[in-house]
Each structure stands twice: as structure tokens, then as C-alpha cells.
Amino acid sequence: MTDSGKRNYHVFFHLHTVSGIVISTALFIIFFCGAFALIKDEITAWEKGKRVFQEEALNIDYDRAIDSIKVADYDLYGRDLRILVPDAKQEIYFQLSESQDSTITFKDDQVYYFYVDAHEYTLSAYYAFYSIGELIYRLHFFSQIPYVGIYLAGFVAFFFLLAIVSGVIIHWKKIVSNFYLFRPLAKVKTVWTDAHTALGVIGLPFQFVFALTSCFLCMSIFVLAPANLMYKGNQSQMMEEVRPMMKAYTLGNPAQSIGSLNGFMEEVQNRWEGFRPVQVYIRNYGADNMIFQVDGMVMNQKKFVAHGRAVYDVASRELIAQKLPDEWNYLEGVETVVRALHFGDWGGYTLKIVYFILALITCFVIISGVLIWLTAREKKSISPSQRLFNRKVGHVFIAICMSIYPVTAFAMIVARLIPREMDASRQSILYLAFFVIGLFVVLFFRFKRNNHFTTRYSLLAGAVLGLLIPLVNGMVSGNWFWTMLAENQIEIALVDMVWISLSATALFTLSKLKKPEPLVPSHEELLAMQKEEFINELTALPKTEKTMKYKIAILWLASAIGFILHGMYGLYGVYYHESLMMEDATGEVPLAHHLWRVGLEGMAFLLSVLCLELRARWFYWTAFTWAILHGLFNVYHLATALMYEPSNLSEILALAVMVVISVFLIKAFREWNKELIVNPEE
């Protein structure tokens, strides 16, 4: 290779490694949870245990559904209704837009959404039954982190795209020959390298599709910004041209009598054989130009996405517009294809199973990539402190990635055992079972500092808990998977069978797992070497630099002042006639408010003072952990402020300074750590 060619190769290699390592844990969680998100509705059906009668559920009585909504005291006049047809959950999703009626003075501008049972036609709140499937699905785009979670997932997707493309570039010349290369008896690192390359190539189209579609699904705002400029801010024109299913119609006059909404669907299905509705819109409810619109797919295997639409005028019962399913339309096709590729809803359960397996293969590619990174760094030329840090990254990564399997299985069992009377607390119980228990499991494995141990016991626990899932389900409900199969209840049986297959795979992997040679040097030896390293480093420093505790104390103080400033900036709106009172203020300060104050300013002050007096390892770790959480919070706070109040300049600057303080604080803690290692007792 030429010199610049060599440099470029290193650049691509570095980009691939760094982008891959930075997103590794998040990406693993996304693919693992994403695999289960494919069957989230089946999981809900499995949890409820009620038989699934899909044909009957799909045969919606629209008039009856509207009647139950009216009985529940919703005023529908002038609203647009968006309806998602039922899946295995057997519930019809309704979303009511705000009313377009400008004649009423006391307008209800709220948007409502809820479910209507597809058999009983009873209303229930969206989260009336919080399913473990919903939790896992939401985790696959980090929706549990408010506001910024989905963007975080979006950037993970973006860097995944980068890692894929740079990975292909570095392997390009050898992509065919390396694919057949498998050297299981060679060094550990080459095994991981071969597995990473071979499985990475097999999964390449799948991974590329997911990286690209996720960019759009999580960060469509980046497409909308230039698009808005092209349309000079005319959003309704843009929507009409780019997403014709969103076309709105100006509200007419109130209709004398409202015609029936039934019958249109049958007509569409007679018109297009094999048509499966996906979304129904009822526009301008109650007006003389009320519209019934249905969007869906023709599910024959001739065409990949045969998307069709029929728009009816309810009063005259005439078809006023349509998009034929077998007519390709680029404008509508792109987004439909993006969604179809991502959600895998165009090929039945066969396709979903293929997607599921490919997602788990991707999880393995991610793990093998990190293991290459780790083994490549077990070298004498790397400083002991750096090696300890690398190993720590590995322990944390393996702990999180491996324990998510048994923890998910455990949460599934919990979800199946919660009785229906406790529906209201399902979400809290499931958060406890998944996130809190999960945290303890991760911490336990991380401090075991043994990746082989973590892998072995996670797989074992996952396999055992996974086999308990069908057992618990059968005992609780009698829905044994063989009876479900016999009754043709595929949706319910599928969940049990997925877990049994996972257990079988895990047990097979366990039988092949060999105990590796212990790492040389051991953790303790490295710690001793690190102490040596720090002694040398600190004696080389000038005297004044040594006492980090004063620096840390001042930084904590600065942090506390920052919070106070931030609180004051919040009040400045008063000068410009902003109301001080919160909307639901009762005259009493809620407890949560005090807790935030104590947690932010109080803790910063306390740690600032304690830092001057205390010199103990436990204090160091407590304060350091707090500093990291504090730093994450500051970054989050800055990000949300940038998103939601970008005009509040002084506040954004104050928050940016807070982030800088946090960075310095964490760096100062690392330095203090060196001092404490060198001189444990003063």
C-alpha cells in the first residue's frame, strides 16, 4: 500500500473501532430488545391469556365503536379520527384530533387517544394494561429516557451506519476470502475476528437496512428541516404532496343525519382481493363532507409492498379518490418500504422469525467486536492503568449484555404472574423487575470481574428461567403451548416457543463453552503495577498540583452555584409579566420539589464540604458515582433546553457551563484517585 493508502486504511479502521465501541452497549440493547419488539403484541396477548380471534377482531363494527366513544362523553363533531386496526392485542386504537369547528366558543382543543376492545367495544386507557412487551419495545428506542431517548437511539443508528460502511471499506479486498476463513483452533483473538467478519457479512444487508431505517424513524426531524425550507414553511402543502394519506379536508357544515360508517371496508376488500387494512381515517366527523379513508396492503406475494388507499364520501357513499395497490408510486412508496423493512410485517411469522434470528446474530457480532477490541489491548506495551480501564469497560459491557437475557426472562415470568386486579401497578412492578433487579445483576457480574463467569451463569440462568416461562404460563392459565397449538392459537403459543428455542440455544452454547486461561497479569497484579505507575507519575509533578481535594471542593461549590443561578434565571420571566404560579399549584410545595433541591444543590454543597475532611475509599467512590450521575443529568438538561427553549440564551449558557464543570469534576476525581491509591492513609 502507498503511504496515503496506509493512512486512509488506519483512518477507516479507527473510525470503525471507535464508532463501534462507543455505541456497543446501546446497540446490543437495541437489537436484543428489538428482536422481542417484533412480537410485542403477541407477548401482550400471551400475558392476558385471552384467546385471539383475529378474523373476528378485524371485522370492525365502526358504528358500534363510535357509539361507545360517544357514550364515554367525547364530542366528536369536527374531529379527525385515526384508527389502527387490531393486532394480536385485539384492541382498536383510536386517536381523536382537536376539533376543526371554529364556530364553537368553548372549544375542546385536546387530542385524545385510547383503545376500544375489538370484541366488547369497551374503552380503555392506552396504558390500562402495561405489557412487558411494551416495556421491551420502548427500551429498544430508549423511550424510558424522556425527550432525548429517541434521539440517543437515532445517533446510535447513525454511528452504526458509519461502523458498517467503514467496516466494509476495511474488509473490502478480503471480504470473499475472509468469509471462508475460520480458525477455531487458533488464538482467541482470531476466533473472534473470524466470527465477527463472517457473521458481520451474513448479517450485512439486514444490519444496513436497520441502521438506515432507524436513522429516519428516530430522527425524521433532520429530514423535515430542509424539507420545510423547500416548501417555504408551507407545511400543509408539503404533507399533502409527500404524505397523501394525511390530506386534510376543510370542514363543511353540520350534517342533518350521520350516515353509517360500515360497509366501506367490505367494498374495498371486494375491490382488491387480499387487501388487509392498516389504518382508517374518519375525517370531519359529523359534517356534510365527512370522509371515510382506508389505507392498507394487498398481501399477495406478487409485489413487495402493494399499498392501496380508498377515500369515500360518507354522505353520498361514493369513492372520491384512490391509490391502486398494484400501481407503484415513488412518493408514497419510499416511506412505506422503510416502515415495512423495519417492522417486518409483510411476510407473516416466517419473516419475523428470520428477523429475530438475524437480530440475535447481530448481538453476537457486537459482542465479538468488543472482544476483539479487548484481546487486542492485552499487551505489555499498554500502561497498567489503561489496561485496568479497558478490562473494566469489558466487564461492564459483558455484564450488561449477558444479563439482559436472564433479566428479560425473569421479567416475563413476573409479568405473567401479576394478577389482573393489579393492572394499575403493572408498570411499576415491571420497572422494578426489569430495571432495578437488572441493575443489581449487572453490578454483581461487573464486580466478579470474570467475563467467562458472567457469560456462563447468564446463559444458564437465562436458559432455566426461559424454560420456566412456558411452565408458569401453563400453570397460571392452562394455556400450555401444545393446547394453544391444537386450538390454532399461534399468537399465544409463539411466545412460549420462542423462549424454549432460546433456552435450547443457550444450553447448546453452554455445552461448547470452554474455560479460558486466566488473564495474565491478574487483576491484583495489575493494581500493584498501577500503583507503581502512579507513584512515578505523581513524584514527577510539581508539589502544588498534588492536592486534588481542594480542586474538587471548589468544583462542587461551582456546581451548586450553577444550580442556584439556573433557578434564578427561571424566575426572570417575572419582569416580563410571566406568571409565577404553576397551573396545578395548591399552595403547598410538593415533596418531589424538595428532593430535587436536596439532590442537586444540597448534595453538591455537602460533597464540597465533606471532600475537605474525608479521605476514604468509600467516600471517593460515593462522590465519584454522584459526580458521574450529576454529569449525565447536566448533559441531559442541556440537551432538553436546546430542544425545547433554544431562545433562553442565558439559561443555555449556564447549563453549558455546568456541563464543563462536570467534565472538570470527573477529571479531577480521576486524579484524586491516583493520590488515594499511592497514599491510602494520610
Partner: protein, 91 residues
Amino acid sequence: MPANSKHLSSPEQRFAKLSAGLLGGYLLSATLHYVLGIWLGNPAYVVVTSIYSLYLVWMLLFIVPYLFTNGWKAWAYYLGIMLALLLLSTL
């Protein structure tokens, strides 16, 4: 094999390249699509295409600054191209 450290850059250069790739790359990709939409006079097709092409172009433009030894030079090129495109689109 960890990348050879002689090919790695200083923190300042790293910041220049990262910001040029992430921020500059996006702005250039968005400008490119915007100008194309204005030129072709048919924004709908460009907007729909940008559903995938915006991120692909952005990703490629993320890589480019790392091929420069000086990341600020990448910023200069990006800003220059953006300005030229915007000027051309007003003609």
C-alpha cells in the same frame, strides 16, 4: 490491532474533525438536498428521497474530515461548498 498512534490527532484536531463531520456534514447534506429541491422545481421527490439519502450523504460527509490532516480545512471546504450552493440556488 489497535490503530497506529502516529495516525491519531491532537484533541483540538479531533474536535475539529468530529464537529466538521457531525455538524458540518449534516448542514452540507441538508443544503445539498435543499438546493436540489429548488433546482429541480419538484421538492416532493427530493423530500421523499431524502428519507434515506440525507443520512447516507451525511454519513459519508462524516468520514471525509478524517481523511484530512487538518480538520479546520474540512470545515472551510464544507462552508465554502454550502455558500456556493446557496448562492447558485438564488440565481
